[in-house]
Amino acid sequence: MSVRLLALATVFAASVATAGAQESDRTLPSQLSAPTRATLERLIDSARVAGLPVDPLYSKVREGVFRAADEPRVVAAVQRLTRDLGDARLALGDGAGAEEIAAGANALRAGLHPADLSRLRESRDRRDNHPLTVALVVLADLATRGVPPAMAAASVNELVARNVSDGSLLSFRQNVERDLVGGRSPASALDARTRAMIDDRKP
């Protein structure tokens, strides 16, 4: 049997295995009017020139179209996200990756202060430059669930400084969430779970 036929079969099988994976689409939806598209293109180009990640901006536009938001609202959302991305990049430093910046922007949106992000970066810098994406995701989640942002930032910062792994940070988030659903106050849940995690790491 020819090698070509074998290769053909292998390529077909591989395409089945990768079904679902999609590249990010960096085009603006055709449902938007031409003036809105032009405005968004200018915004996104400015973000690109500033070195900000633009995939979250395209995603925000598509989310707005999916949710049938009116066009000014889509533009406003993209403007706000661009601002948050810029603030997050400033707070996290030039070495921050695109995922970190996007997660940082989300944390700012949740009520965190840029100084909280900078402190987190300093803790990270004292470690091994491990990406802060998960820590920032956890931080944003806690803040949206009613945990006071400053408290959430202090706890997560302490855990990051103690080299807590990403997996443990996510478990920490789930445990706090479980306590909140069970009726515990946010401050109490956060305090108890932070102490428990620190105690677990003591030799």
């Binding site: 077909f12 089945v16 949206t144």
Partner: protein
């Protein structure tokens, strides 16, 4: 080495090709092209050299025993078997990985409203992520997010008959992905996944983080 049998061998192939077989025209054309260009099989050539001096009877016996002539139908069958093997292996791998992610979520997920219970991925060490949500009265559930351009038609969930939950497994690139479920047209965040604080359009989204493969 080319022997006196070669014309007969070509005749056999030609005869095989003239037979009507249910093959797509494009595949048939490719097969014809491959067969026309195929050299005499290496194994057969080796046999010819080995038995060159032993007489026609011994040569014929050896050829009958060792010859590796594969017709178009044989090639097609082998190709189909390979495809089926690849698809089967993929299904098994996705099932196993998906089950692991689901088990990890189920152990740690928080209690959620009884009408909408999700055991969604909070994190997955691997790239295949299983999303699931319990929406017993729903007739259609889909997944939208940054990974499918927020296209509600791109990633429908199917109901798992064993658990009654709506499930889908996706291969996602490492990174942070924002998503939501669409349950009978209503957009809803995943109750047991981290929330994204980006309610620009009315309702919150969820976040899944796929870590980079360990090196």
């Amino acid at each position: 080495m080319s022997g006196p049998d070669e014309p007969r061998w070509l005749d056999e192939i030609a005869g095989e090709l003239r037979r009507e077989v249910p093959v797509r025209p494009a595949w048939r054309a490719r097969l014809l092209d491959e067969v026309a260009r195929a050299p005499k099989p290496a194994v057969r050539r080796e046999i010819d050299e080995t038995f060159d001096d032993r007489g026609e009877d011994a040569l014929d016996t050896a050829r009958r025993r060792w010859s590796l002539t594969v017709g178009p139908l044989g090639s097609l069958a082998a190709a189909m078997m390979l495809v089926a093997l690849g698809a089967g292996a993929t299904y098994v791998a996705m099932s196993r990985l998906g089950a692991n992610a689901s088990q990890r979520s189920a152990q740690t997920s928080a209690p959620a409203p009884s009408h909408l219970v999700s055991s969604a991925p909070v994190s997955a060490e691997r790239e295949i992520v299983r999303f699931e949500i319990a929406a017993p009265r729903a007739s259609h559930v889909a997944l939208v997010g940054s990974f499918n351009e927020w296209d509600p038609g791109a990633t429908p969930l199917s109901r798992d008959p064993a658990t009654g939950k709506w499930v889908v497994s996706l291969r996602l690139p490492p990174g942070r992905h924002v998503y939501a479920f669409v349950v009978d047209g209503d957009v809803t965040a995943d109750p047991s996944a981290p929330r994204a604080a980006d309610e620009d359009f009315g309702s919150p989204n969820s976040v899944v983080f796929v870590s980079s493969p360990r090196v």
